[in-house]
């Protein structure tokens, strides 16, 4: 019986893969770019359900997807409160402040090559740091509520964004700069009309990297102290209570939120840098 379940799940997975191979022969037919990955995802979920049931994995270790869906429905209210606390208040605020501050800093140091040469290596260094380690310190400094989570996010986002923006501001090709010179354009005119637009792809690259950093930072920071709501709080508390279905429901929410956040920034990027070759086709 259990063997049959596993076999059925495996067969489903193989069948889905075969269909995907077929579908991807014509990638430009409408909808294909959505159907194919979705089918792949469904196949993985079916495989997961089949394996968990077939191998009788304990629900306190790994719940089947069906149990997660039930938890998603039953605990929607709690999940929403957690989402607001962690994502809207912690991650988004921190993201806005961190990216905004980095952007302004990049513009401030733009006129000083000396500062840039000093700050960029230091910035690259800090961006490679295990900043997560600062979470307990920031919780100590900024308190238990979302402010400390936002602070962690600010610190995590600042340097990747700074480095990208500074690099972006150097993107305008020398010819276009010379062109602006022949017009006798001022520094600010060159900045707004040429260099900032040209920096667009880099700035958005930084913004995209920061979406996932923001979410991870806000969640992990809650491990080091929080009020009794929030996605990180929920995960750690419910693991302790062995409610793994709730843990996974929170993970699903976080994955959805993270992907959607990334997707929104990507859409903005498409709209703002429509002209860049990588956005055409």
């Amino acid at each position: 019986m259990n063997g049959l379940i596993i076999l059925a799940a495996l067969l489903f997975w193989l069948a889905a893969w075969a269909v995907n191979v077929r579908l991807s022969k014509n990638p430009d037919k409408p909808g294909r770019r959505i159907i194919v990955p979705v089918l792949f995802g469904i196949a993985i979920i079916v495989l997961w359900e089949g394996l968990v049931r077939g191998l009788e994995v304990k629900a306190v270790l790994l719940p089947p997807p069906s149990a997660i869906v039930v938890a998603l429905g039953d605990k929607a209210g709690t999940l929403w409160i957690d989402f607001v606390q962690t994502f809207i208040k912690g991650a988004l605020t921190g993201y806005a402040i961190g990216c905004g501050a980095a952007f302004l800093t990049a513009i401030l140091i733009d006129r000083s090559p000396f500062l840039q040469r000093g700050l960029l290596p230091v910035g690259n260094f800090v961006a490679a740091l295990p900043i997560i380690g600062m979470a307990p310190i920031l919780v100590m400094w900024f308190g238990f509520d979302w402010q400390s989570k936002a602070a962690v996010v600010v610190v995590m986002c600042f340097f990747p964004m700074l480095v990208n923006t500074v690099q972006g501001l150097q993107q305008a090709d020398p010819m276009s700069r010379d062109l602006m010179r022949t017009y006798g354009a001022s520094y600010w005119q060159t900045l707004f009309k040429l260099r900032l637009p040209a920096a667009g792809p880099f700035i958005f690259n930084g913004l995209k990297i920061c979406t996932t950093l923001a979410l991870i930072g806000a969640i992990v920071a809650e491990f080091f102290g929080s009020p009794i709501k929030g996605m990180g709080f929920r995960i750690s508390t419910e693991v302790g209570r062995l409610s793994l279905d709730m843990v996974w429901a929170t993970i699903v929410v976080s994955a959805l939120a993270g992907t959607a956040f990334y997707g929104v920034v990507t859409l903005l990027e498409k709209a703002a840098t429509f002209w860049h070759p990588s956005q055409r086709r």
Binding site: L61, M140, F144, G225, G240
Partner: protein
């Protein structure tokens, strides 16, 4: 020798001195056991580790063990070296808190991750909501340390008599600055640091024999530790892989621990069990467990071990 893995509830410290002493003094070896002690940590749920087969026996608090049992993980208490509870709520005097009646409107730091059950029971007994507001209390998920009370972010924090309390003292606050509420004194004490195994183990005579020998050696370790607290503390220190513990702190901790293990020969006192269950069931609208558990403890092991 038979292999056996013990999962601790927390990091290596004198709280678990009995086991380290038994290991170090060769008590386990005498019983033909090859014991591995796995330290815990803030994100380790011992119940989950044992469910995953990562350990044979685990040190756990009874509320968490009973809650896990309700989730379908059949944990059974086979021995109870700790007689009394070391949990307390420590408050700053200058917040105006003198008795539990003053909690309303205050901010309290609490450990979660399965350690919140005694606190929740207590609050529901006091009739205080944990959702905040003037009538209830605001609850913080306390992190790994006592910072919230030092920084003034919380009015009270959870502490153990043997550990966190002394960290507050070390940080520069004096006992005069503080008010403490022991769970024992408030009548809401629950059993801590029992030894638990999965039910299926008890069906196998070979495993039972192993557990008997383990409990016997462990209790020998505990009694040795009670009698030689300083030596026990040094043994603990030797086993601490992080190198973060200090001699002074561990010796003091051993002294406090000895007070909690005193009065237990290792066998669970059914009266303590009943009191714990009652307290957990009385949780008002949101009790920790919903019905009295069946078969959550056994004397079989201790009976065999201690005779």
């Amino acid at each position: 020798a038979d292999d056996l893995t013990l999962q601790l509830k927390w990091v290596t410290q004198s709280q678990f001195a009995g086991y380290y002493v038994a290991l170090d003094k060769g008590f386990y070896e005498e019983e033909d056991l090859n014991v591995t002690i796995q330290p815990g940590g803030p994100d380790i749920a011992p119940t989950q580790v044992i469910a995953g087969g990562g350990a044979d026996v685990t040190v756990e608090w009874m509320p968490a063990a009973l809650a896990a049992r309700e989730k379908g993980l059949p944990l059974v208490n086979i021995a109870q070296p700790f007689k009394s509870s070391g949990m307390m709520l420590t408050c700053r005097k200058d917040t105006g808190i003198a008795s539990p009646d003053d909690f309303a409107g205050k901010t309290l730091g609490v450990w979660f991750f399965g350690n919140e059950f005694p606190f929740l029971s207590w609050m529901s007994k006091l009739g205080l909501s944990t959702e905040g507001g003037d009538e209830g209390v605001t609850v913080l998920k306390q992190g790994f340390n006592v910072d919230p009370i030092l920084q003034g972010q919380a009015d009270c924090v959870s502490t153990m008599t043997y550990n966190e309390y002394w960290q507050i003292i070390d940080a520069g606050l004096t006992p005069d600055d503080l008010v403490v509420f022991k769970y024992e004194d408030q009548g809401v004490a629950t059993l801590e640091d029992g030894l638990y195994v999965l039910e299926e183990k008890l069906a196998d005579p070979a495993e039972v024999d192993k557990l008997v020998r383990f409990v016997r050696a462990s209790m020998k370790g505990w009694k040795y530790a009670e009698e030689n607290p300083d030596e026990a503390a040094m043994i603990v220190l030797d086993n601490d892989a992080t190198g973060a513990q200090t001699e002074e702190h561990q010796k003091r901790m051993m002294g406090e621990i000895a007070k909690l293990t005193a009065g237990s020969n290792g066998a669970l006192d059914p009266a303590d069990y009943e009191r714990t269950v009652e307290s957990l069931l009385s949780g008002g609208s949101d009790p920790v467990i919903t019905k009295a558990p069946e078969g959550a403890w056994t004397h079989d092991i201790t009976d065999a071990a201690l005779n």
